[in-house]
């Protein structure tokens, strides 16, 4: 199961859009939930007149049987105080549907990085202990960087370290819950800021691809991902001619 966390820059969601759009995944269902702000629109992955009229809502599930991949896309923010029940429901669905692994795409505030994190790659990963056994070695080979823990009481006591993912939304909660429930979960995140997060989405989805090999990685991988039609006009309408 691949899914985003609603996080800074919406990078996880944008990256998920790229996966669904490029692999031409089929919608197989949706979550009927009171935890997310309601929204509805026409098919965001429309490519022609014929397929542009299907309604789309805030939490939908897509699948690609050939790669044994299921993707959950979340399109609106959590309603206040509802993100915990959502996480509980989600994880119990993961268990009951016997999903083997969960990959969570997320992001974290770039301005919260320490001096060391400012250098080198802005991409990080996290693995629950159950998944660590299976793919920990692969991460070493890929030369990936694990998300660093920070001091629980900075300045006072530097020995106790905790996981801190500012701007990550439900990332930390899902990860810690998965650790305790024995779920194999990987978190892939990128440090970023709010703004034009399309390049961040590409970086994250290419990072994902290094591991899962969803598409053939060639030299110029950016051009291999298909941008969905709903990404038009992300930054507003055309300008009024009267302005000139």
């Amino acid at each position: 199961l691949l899914q985003p966390a609603v996080s800074v820059g919406n990078v996880g969601q944008l990256a998920t859009d790229l996966v669904i759009s490029t692999l031409n995944m089929t919608k197989v269902g949706y979550f009927y939930t009171d935890c997310l702000v309601p929204m509805v629109g026409n098919n965001p992955y429309a490519t022609a007149e014929e397929n542009s009229m299907e309604l789309s809502i805030n939490a939908e599930v897509y699948s690609l049987p050939s790669k044994r991949l299921v993707v959950l896309q979340i399109r609106s923010p959590f309603i206040k105080n509802k993100y915990r029940p959502f996480c509980q429901t989600l994880l119990s669905w993961v268990k009951s549907s016997k999903c083997a692994r969960v990959v969570l795409l997320s992001s974290s505030h770039a301005y919260q990085r320490d001096d060391e994190q400012l250098l080198g790659t802005p991409l990080r990963y996290l693995l629950t202990p159950d998944l660590q056994k299976a793919v920990g070695g692969l991460m070493q080979e890929l030369n990936w960087k694990e998300m660093e823990k920070v001091a629980a009481y900075p300045g006072i006591n530097d020995t106790e370290k905790v996981l801190h993912i500012p701007g990550g939304g439900i990332t930390k909660l899902l990860f810690t819950e998965s650790c305790s429930k024995g779920i194999q979960m990987a978190v892939l995140l990128k440090f970023c800021s709010e703004g034009d997060n399309i390049p961040d989405a590409f970086a994250l989805v290419n990072y994902l691809n290094e591991w899962l090999q969803l598409i053939r990685s060639e030299v110029n991988t950016s051009s291999q991902w298909k941008i969905p039609s709903s990404w038009r006009l992300l930054f507003g309408n055309g300008l009024p001619p009267a302005l000139f």
Binding site: D34, P38, L55, N237
Partner: protein, 218 residues
């Protein structure tokens, strides 16, 4: 984050979960907290009251789901006013229900004889065909109440053979299009429909990337 002027502010994040909020949740909830939260939730509960033929009001849960063939819902002041001006009249329509709710933005009036400037949510039935229901909702239904509204209202009606039409308005400035919205001839109509809706739609469909949110979306 630092703004252009050098001041450091906490930027609202699209993550939707503030760190303070999650830290608060991590604290153990005391019995007082639980009580306060319960009281707040009760205050924000929605009550749907239906008026039976005899004129007595009962709670919706006591009723059998009633048969409905067409349900027209007008959400927002403009849509509600449209129904008042062109459709509703005291001869053909009768009031059959009301939704009572409270949130930080509005409280619904207690009477069914409402003024256009009041916040209200009323249900009307066509006297000549009692399976045709109309709802005028000019009050704002908050995010956390939308699902409840949906479940309680639709929970009272039989869904087989039901056709639902939702009327709503959005500011033209929110409409995303290649040209500037200044040059658009407004007002204009757009529609969204489910696969099951087989009839002709009277206006063009809403183009991507535009979306509908809140109660009409729910």
């Amino acid at each position: 984050m630092a703004t252009f002027f050098g001041e450091v502010v906490v930027a609202p994040s699209r993550a939707g979960v503030d760190d303070e909020e999650s830290a608060e949740e991590a604290r153990e909830e005391t019995p007082e907290d639980r009580e306060i939260r319960r009281e707040l939730e009760k205050k924000r509960e929605i009550d749907v009251l239906w008026t039976l033929k005899s004129g007595a009001s009962t709670e919706s849960s006591a009723d059998e789901p009633f048969v409905c063939s067409r349900f027209i819902v007008a959400i927002g002041h403009n849509a509600a006013a449209f129904l008042s001006s062109f459709i509703l009249d005291s001869v053909s329509w009768e009031v059959v229900g009301v939704v009572k709710l409270w949130n930080e933005w509005c409280r619904t009036s207690n009477t069914t004889n409402v003024l256009p400037t009041d916040s209200f949510c009323l249900f009307y039935r066509l006297i000549s065909d009692p399976t045709v229901l109309l709802c005028q909702c000019s009050c704002y239904v908050a995010e956390d109440q939308q699902f409840q509204w949906l479940e309680k209202v639709f929970g009272c009606m039989r869904k087989e053979g039901l056709q639902v039409t939702i009327l709503s308005t959005c500011p033209v400035a929110d409409y995303k299009t290649q040209e500037s919205t200044l040059t658009l001839p407004s007002p204009f109509l757009k529609a969204l429909k489910t696969k099951e809706f087989k009839e002709q739609v009277c206006c063009p469909l809403l183009e991507q990337p535009n979306i509908v949110r809140d109660l009409p979306a729910a």
